[in-house]
Amino acid sequence: MSILEVNHLKKVYTTRFGGSHVQALTDVSFSVEQGEFVAIMGESGSGKTTLLNILATLDRPTSGEVLLAGKNVLSIRERELAAFRRDNLGFVFQDFNLLDTFSLQDNIFLPLVLSGKKYPEMQERLAPIATRLEITPLLKKFPYEVSGGQKQRAAVARALITQPQLILADEPTGALDSRSADSLLRLFEEINQGGQTILMVTHSIKAASSAGRVLFIKDGEVFHQIYRGGRSQEELYQQISDTLTLIATGGAVASSVNYRHHEGGGRHE
């Protein structure tokens, strides 16, 4: 069953006085199955962030629809959106977005507190997550006291603690050194193996190669996709790299025609 369905998303930004239009998304359609780990790749300006913002309900598309677990998120009323986000989506950001006024534990509790959960229940939920993420000894510390990798793991814990339908990650390794990035990606794989659906937007081939499927976006459209299948991470890495080269050089124009029909489930050979 697909947990997320995106149909014909279009987003046009208009400057304040309506002078010029910028088309960020032209026509984006794809779906994510329950328990999948999907990476979205694309160059700067390809519309990745716009797409993620729309999925996160932080922005509204010009047209098209987004279904999360069968529910059209665009029909949710403005004042219920925050609660919806809190209960169904988990976020991991490039710059961690931890509040420096809270200890790591309180940062992780934040969405639960906002939903009005009781302290014992929060504690109960946190314990296993903290153990798995190896941040138990750091819980009382403040964001400025720990390293980037530790901050990002706390952010992951915050995303997980609400047991969301979908985790959205925006360049989660962008601000991390390679070791921390590797361990974070392994963590994502583990979480994903535990059944958690993850959608990650990234620049990094390394990051994308840990996913189960990679979508490529170019000029506001899903341009191509690769399934990992039975391949090793190294093989997938090579494949992504080749695809990106193709996209970047003119050859992409020709091959796009070939790849188009693979969209929507077909395995790339």
């Binding site: 959106l81 209960d87 977005n97 509040l99 934040l110 507190v113 302290y119």
Partner: protein, 676 residues
């Protein structure tokens, strides 16, 4: 490179940073103007023409000059430090782009020069204009005539240039120090270096509570007006220090205790508010304590000077009950007769008539209260004792008392009548040194006594049986030293109102009475006795001295009040801006994590409200506690009308609160503009 490059760069910088530079420039201009105004007023020749009492006014204004100078230094430094913090990023960028620290210094130099020159020129011009207005207000308050024309004090302008020149130079040096001490990366990151969580400083918090409690307790518990005066400044310092401790340490301690309480803390409303407040208090504690102290000063100053001003007639009435009083002191039983004859002669000469005459003979003696006895023997009094231990005792014979008050009191041997409105009576005996009397009756009324009323000490009245007893007491309190001969003699006061007297006639009589020592002395010698001294109290003259003192105080009170309000406005404005920049980021994070916009706005708004109205509430509490103490001090200045003071305080507080609310609303707009 164009040699005007840095000059132009500096100008562009200031225009680009208008949001923080304009208020800073305005502050400098107004501070210069304020300095010039008070400085020029203190040397204004118009004040010289304001008849009597110009000396007191000059002292008050001179004091004001010092207060304003001190204020200017602290305040301009404070706003400048804020400015520098905001601009660190920009300066860091210039540095990274290849401007050396020398270049940066040159740029900063031009900026400081611009600010200095603009604020001095505009400030002085504004000062000259407003000075005239201020002078009119002052003259009006003092009920004095206003000479025409503008007055420009070149000396004051020169002083302003000197003071602010030095000040701006110091500020320039301080900016240089900041640039040279930091590296570009730090400058680039500017204000947003990872804020550390503040530590709980329990000791400081407890000291704060202790000091504040002590100050409050002093204010409430002291019933003796004289003691109130001596301890007032001590209490003020206690409360100021206590306020700073409480705002910095106390607030954080309380918030942390709240955070420890899980049931309370992990609730949607409290969660964000408490943790947010901990940081807000860390960054703002000193600024808020400043606002609180300034507000309290404004309130106390304006309300007390204003009620003194309004209650002045009342006050004069209490102290100087008649138009004029002729007071003679000497070693004779015939003082009363002599005084009456001298005054009569003078009145006749001036063709005037007296009415409402009060004349009686008494002995005023300064006593030190030791235990339950009063010591009047000068050799036994302790010279180092505090003023509060002293009191003025007026002794009068039963015969005089009954004559003046129209009563028919009687006394047994060894008995006295006691009048003690300001002190609790202990026991039923009254002792002077080793001698004791039984208190026959406590009096509720006593003849007006100007000589005692002008003293700052507690007043006690004692009615003794006869002249012999009075003489006996006189001997007890006589100075052994011949130099003081006559200082402790028995006095007679002859006070009266003039029937249909005009001021010219009054002045003439006053003049005559001043030079009446010789004739009085001769007269008394004829009757038997020696005259020690004469003195004249002239209500109109005293009045003008009071007017210039209290009018001057009120003026300085309003003047400083305005200045402090301005300072408060600016601090609030800057705080709002810095809060805005800090909150912007938090705002977006919270939104992403799942708080809706209205919710965020509500919590932030409630926090900001708490932060800005905390000082106002504290100022209100401070004023309320200062109230009894100041009430007693005013009482000492013969302002008995407590109701008036209550009214003035409440009105000042309300006006101030409304003003504060307006300032807040206006500055909050800037805040919301930054955040959203």
């Amino acid at each position: 490179m164009n040699k005007f490059f840095y000059a132009r760069l500096a100008a562009v910088n200031m225009r680009k940073n208008a949001r923080v530079y304009v208020p800073y420039l305005l502050t400098c201009i107004f501070t210069v103007a304020a300095y010039y105004m008070i400085s020029a007023l203190s040397v204004n020749p118009g004040i010289e023409d304001m008849e009597l009492g110009s000396g007191t006014l000059r002292v008050v204004l001179g004091l004001g000059v010092w207060v304003v100078s001190l204020f200017a230094c602290i305040f301009i430094f404070y706003t400048n430090s804020f400015l520098m913090k905001r601009r660190k990023k920009e300066i860091g960028l210039y540095n990274v782009l290849g401007m050396g620290k020398g270049h940066l210094s040159r740029m900063i130099f031009y900026e400081t020069v611009y600010i200095g020159v603009i604020s001095l020129v505009v400030g002085t011009l504004l000062g000259v204009l407003l000075d005239k207005a201020a002078f009119l207000v002052l003259a009006n308050l003092m009920e004095a005539e206003v000479p025409l024309g503008f007055y420009v004090s070149w000396g004051s302008i020169w002083n302003a240039i000197l003071l602010f020149g030095i000040l701006f130079f110091l500020i320039f040096l301080n900016s240089l120090r900041q640039i040279h001490l930091t590296n570009p990366i730090e400058l680039l990151r500017g204000g947003q270096m990872g804020e550390k969580e503040p530590k709980t400083r329990w000791l400081l918090a407890i000291i704060g509570i202790g000091l504040l409690g002590w100050g409050y307790w002093l204010a409430v518990s002291i019933t003796n007006p004289v003691q109130a005066v001596t301890l007032f400044f001590f209490a003020v310092i206690l409360v100021i220090v206590g306020t700073y401790c409480l705002f910095t340490a106390g607030s954080i301690a309380i918030l942390k205790v709240l955070r420890k309480n899980r049931r309370f803390y992990y609730k949607p409303n409290h969660f964000i508010a408490v943790s947010g407040m901990i940081y807000r208090m860390k960054q703002n504690a000193v600024g808020l304590a400043n606002i609180c102290v300034l507000s309290t000063m404004v309130l106390v100053m304006v309300s007390s000077t204003f009620s003194m001003y309004v209650g002045m007639e009342d006050m004069l009435e209490k102290t100087y009950s008649r138009d004029m009083e002729f007071l003679i002191r000497g070693d004779s039983q015939y003082l009363g007769e002599a005084a009456a004859e001298v005054v009569d002669d003078i009145l006749q000469e001036e063709d005037a008539e007296a009415e409402n005459i009060l004349t009686y003979t008494y002995l005023n003696s300064s006593a030190q209260k030791i235990g339950s006895t009063y010591e009047i023997d000068p050799s036994k009094k302790n010279n180092g004792a505090a003023v509060a231990e002293y009191c003025t005792i007026t002794f009068v014979t039963l015969e005089e008392y009954n004559r003046v008050m129209g009563t028919q009191k009687s006394l047994e041997e060894g008995e006295i009548l006691l009048y003690t409105p300001e002190e609790e009576l202990q026991g039923d005996t009254f002792s002077l040194g080793d001698t004791s009397w039984k208190i026959g009756e406590t009096l509720t009324e006593f003849p007006d006594n100007t000589a005692a009323a002008v003293m700052m000490t507690t007043h006690i009245g004692v009615v003794v049986k006869d002249w012999e007893t009075l003489l006996q007491i006189e001997t007890m309190q006589r100075w052994p030293d011949a130099d003081y001969e006559g200082y402790s003699d028995i006095e007679c006061a002859y006070s009266f109102d003039l029937k249909n007297g005009d001021s010219q006639q009054e002045a003439a009589i006053y003049e005559n009475l001043i030079y009446a020592f010789e004739p009085t002395s001769q007269l008394l010698a004829e009757k038997g006795g020696t005259l020690a001294m004469t003195r004249v109290y002239y209500n109109a003259q005293e009045r003008s001295i009071y007017m210039s003192l209290i009018g001057g105080l009120l003026f300085v009170g309003i003047f400083l009040g305005t200045l402090f309000v301005m300072a408060t406005i600016l601090i609030i404005y800057y705080k709002q801006i810095s809060e805005g920049y800090d909150d912007k980021e938090r705002f977006t994070i919270m939104e992403k994590v799942g708080m809706d916009k209205r919710e965020i706005r509500r919590t932030i708004r409630s926090q900001v409200l708490t932060v800005f109205f905390l000082p106002l509430i504290m100022a209100g509490i401070h004023t309320a506690f200062a109230f009894p103490m100041i009430g007693r001090i005013l009482q000492l200045m013969a302002l008995q009308n407590q109701g008036l003071y209550v009214l003035c305080t409440v009105v000042s507080f309300l006006v101030f609160a409304v003003l504060y609310g307006i300032i807040y609303t206006l500055t909050a707009r800037t805040y919301y503009k930054i955040v959203s």
